[in-house]
Amino acid sequence: MFRRLPDIAGDRVSFTIDGRPAEARSGDSVAAALLANGVAACRNTPVSGAARGPYCMMGVCFDCLVTIDGTGNRQGCQVRVAPGMAVETQDGKREAGR
C-alpha cells in the first residue's frame, strides 16, 4: 500500500482501473497510479498464473505490464497516466490481436 504525502503539487487526474473510476496526480506513471489506488497486483504471469505487480519502477523488470486504452503489454511504469485513460489489469497471455 502506498499513500500520498500531504502538501503535494500536481493536478488531479481521473482515469479508470478495470472500468472503476480512480484518481491520480499529473506526473504519475500508470504503475504509480495503480499503487496509489491500492492495486498492488496488476497481472497474472503467462507462465504459472502467479500474481505480479510493479517491482522496479524504472522500466527494466516488465512486471507492471498492463493493458492501456486497449493496447496490452504496456509497461505501466513507463507510461504517464492521462485523463480518461482506461487501464486494465492483465490475465496471463494477452490475446494476439490486442
Binding site: 502506498f2 499513500r3 510493479p54 522496479c56 519502477m57 522500466g59
Partner: protein, 484 residues
C-alpha cells in the same frame, strides 16, 4: 546504398541516458560545437538518481535532501548548450559500423518515440545508461507488495508516494539507509529494517577505512545512519530472508545466524542490496565486458576516457562500473572531451588539459568507494540463493533448475537460455543475469569470469511488430527480399 553511405549523419553525437553522466556529457559536447542529441526513455531529464528533478511534486526540499537537488544544477548547462533533448525516446538498438561497408563509419541507432520507431545515424554514441538494482532473489520476491527500494524511491520522487501500512526494508547498502532517512523526513513510519550486511564484511573493509575517512560520503552517511537507527527498529546480521503471502505479501520471515525464525506481518517489503551497471545496450552493441570482483558484477570494459572495445562507442557513469552520481558527472565530461578529440574538434593535448579538473573531481568523488563496495558486498547466500528461489522472474526459473542444468552440462548463462529459457523473457536478463552467473559459477566451482554472461541482442527493449513494420525502408530493401 552508396547514396546513404555518403550522406551526413543526423547528429555527431548521441548521448543515451540523461542521468548525471549523460547530462554533463551532452552539455559539454554540445557547448563545444558537436551537434548532439540526448536520448532518454523517461519523460524528463535526471536519470534515476535525479528522477523527476524538474517536476517532482515533493515540495518540501528537506525530504529528498541536498544531494538530490544538486541534480537541478545540471539542467541549465544542458539547456544553454544547444543539445537536442529527446525525452521519451526508447533506444532499442545501436549498430556499430560494418567492416564490409568501409565508406560508412556511422552508427545506426534504433529508437521508439511517441509510438513510432525510427533509425538515427550518428558519428559517435556515448552510453550513459546508469545502474539498476542488483537482483535480490529471495523466496517470495515476486509477490505483489515486494518492490525494490530504488523503486520505492522513484515513487517518492515522481509521485510523492510513501508506503503505508506495515513496512519492512531489508538488505544492505547506502540506498537502503538513504531511503529510510527520506521516509523519516517525509513522516512515513517503518516497522523494521532487516540488515543483511555480513558481519565479516567489517573485517574486510577495515583496511580500506582510511580512504573512506577522507571521502565526501563519511559525514553525511554517518549522520543519516545514526538518525535512522535512533528512530527505526534495526535487526542486524540477518542471514535468511523470505517473503510470504497468497497472491500478495503478508509477512516477512527472517533468521539471524542459528537463531529462531522470526515472522513480521507486512504489507510492503522493500529490498535492496546494491546496484549494478545497466549494461544491456552496451552488451547488445558488442562491447567487451569484464567481471568486477570487488563489485561482484559485470561491467563493460572501458579505457580511462570511457572508450569501449567498439569503434565509436563510449560509456560514462555507473553503466561502466558503479561510482555514484558525482563520479558519473565527471566521467561524463571526461568521455565527452574524448569524443571531441576523436571527432577532430580538439587535439590530444587540449583534451588532456581540459580533463585535468574533471579527473581531480572524479578522484575525490571515488574516494572511499572501495570501502563501501567491500562493506556492503551482499552475502553469498543472497547472490546465489537456495534451490526453491525463483531467479528468472519472467520465465519463473528457480535457482535449483539452474543448478540441475549445470549438472546436465550447462556451462554458462547462454546455455542456460537454451536449457531453461532462463533470461529469455522481456526483461532480457536484467533481473536474473547477475544471479545466474553467480549460481552457475558456484555450482561449477569456477569464477564468474569463466562462466560469462548472456549475449544480449537487440531490441534491448521490446517493440511492437507494427513499429518495426513501419520503419522507413528503401525500395532496394524490399526488392532484395522478393525471392525467386
Amino acid at each position: 546504398m552508396s547514396d546513404r553511405a555518403m550522406s551526413a549523419p543526423d547528429f555527431d553525437l548521441a548521448v543515451i541516458g540523461s542521468g548525471p553522466a549523460g547530462l554533463a556529457a551532452a552539455a559539454l559536447a554540445a557547448g563545444r560545437g558537436l551537434s548532439t542529441v540526448l536520448l532518454d526513455e523517461q519523460p524528463e531529464a535526471g536519470g534515476q538518481i535525479y528522477r523527476a528533478i524538474t517536476d517532482t511534486p515533493v515540495r518540501d526540499r528537506r525530504v529528498l535532501g541536498p544531494d538530490y537537488w544538486h541534480g537541478a544544477e545540471l539542467l541549465g548547462p544542458l539547456r544553454d548548450s544547444g543539445a537536442a533533448h529527446w525525452p521519451g525516446s526508447t533506444v532499442w538498438s545501436v549498430a556499430r559500423p560494418r567492416e564490409d561497408r568501409p565508406g560508412d563509419r556511422r552508427l545506426q541507432i534504433g529508437l521508439s518515440r511517441d509510438g513510432a520507431a525510427r533509425m538515427l545515424s550518428v558519428r559517435h554514441v556515448l552510453m550513459a545508461t546508469g545502474a539498476l538494482e542488483r537482483p535480490f532473489p529471495i523466496p517470495g520476491w515476486t509477490l505483489p507488495g515486494v518492490l525494490g527500494a530504488g523503486a520505492a524511491q522513484i515513487l517518492l520522487k515522481t509521485s510523492g508516494l510513501v508506503p503505508s501500512g506495515r513496512v519492512v526494508l531489508a538488505g544492505t547498502g547506502p540506498l537502503l539507509w538513504l531511503l529510510a532517512w527520506q521516509y523519516l523526513r517525509a513522516g512515513a513510519a517503518l516497522d523494521a529494517i532487516l540488515d543483511t550486511t555480513p558481519r565479516a564484511n567489517w573485517r574486510a573493509a577495515l583496511p580500506l577505512l582510511p580512504a573512506f575517512l577522507r571521502s565526501p560520503y563519511l559525514g553525511k552517511g554517518a549522520k543519516l545512519l545514526l538518525e535512522v537507527r535512533r528512530k527505526v527498529k534495526v535487526v542486524d546480521g540477518v542471514t535468511e530472508l523470505r517473503a510470504e503471502g497468497e497472491g500478495k505479501l503478508a509477512a516477512v520471515v527472517y533468521r539471524r545466524g542459528d537463531g529462531a525464525e522470526q515472522r513480521i506481518a507486512a504489507d510492503t517489503l522493500l529490498l535492496h542490496h546494491g546496484v549494478v551497471p545497466n549494461l544491456n545496450l552496451a552488451n547488445a552493441t558488442g562491447c567487451a565486458q569484464q567481471w568486477d570482483e570487488t563489485q561482484r558484477c559485470w561491467r563493460p570494459t572501458t579505457d580511462s576516457w570511457g572508450a569501449t572495445s567498439v569503434e565509436g562507442v563510449s560509456l560514462a557513469g555507473d553503466g561502466a562500473g558503479i561510482g555514484g552520481a558525482l563520479a558519473a558527472e565527471q566521467a561524463g565530461r571526461i568521455a565527452a572531451l574524448d569524443v571531441l578529440h576523436r571527432l577532430g574538434r580538439i587535439d590530444r593535448a587540449a583534451r588532456d588539459r581540459a580533463a585535468v579538473p574533471h579527473r581531480e573531481a572524479l578522484e575525490r568523488a571515488l574516494r572511499g568507494r572501495q570501502f563501501l563496495d567491500t562493506l556492503y558486498r551482499p552475502a553469498d547466500v543472497f547472490r546465489a540463493p537456495a534451490d526453491d528461489t525463483i531467479v528468472c522472474r519472467c520465465e519463473e526459473i528457480t535457482a535449483g533448475a539452474v543448478r540441475e542444468a549445470v549438472r546436465l552440462g550447462c556451462s554458462g548463462p547462454n546455455q542456460a537460455k537454451s536449457f531453461l529459457r532462463c533470461g529469455m523473457g522481456p526483461c532480457q536478463g536484467r533481473l536474473c543475469g547477475p544471479t545466474v552467473t553467480e549460481v552457475i559459477a558456484a555450482e561449477r566451482g569456477v569464477s564468474p569470469a569463466e562462466v560469462g554472461y548472456y549475449r544480449l541482442r537487440p531490441p534491448v527493449k521490446p517493440i511492437t511488430l507494427a513499429e518495426l513494420a513501419a520503419l522507413p525502408k528503401t525500395e532496394a530493401d524490399i526488392d532484395a527480399v522478393l525471392k525467386h
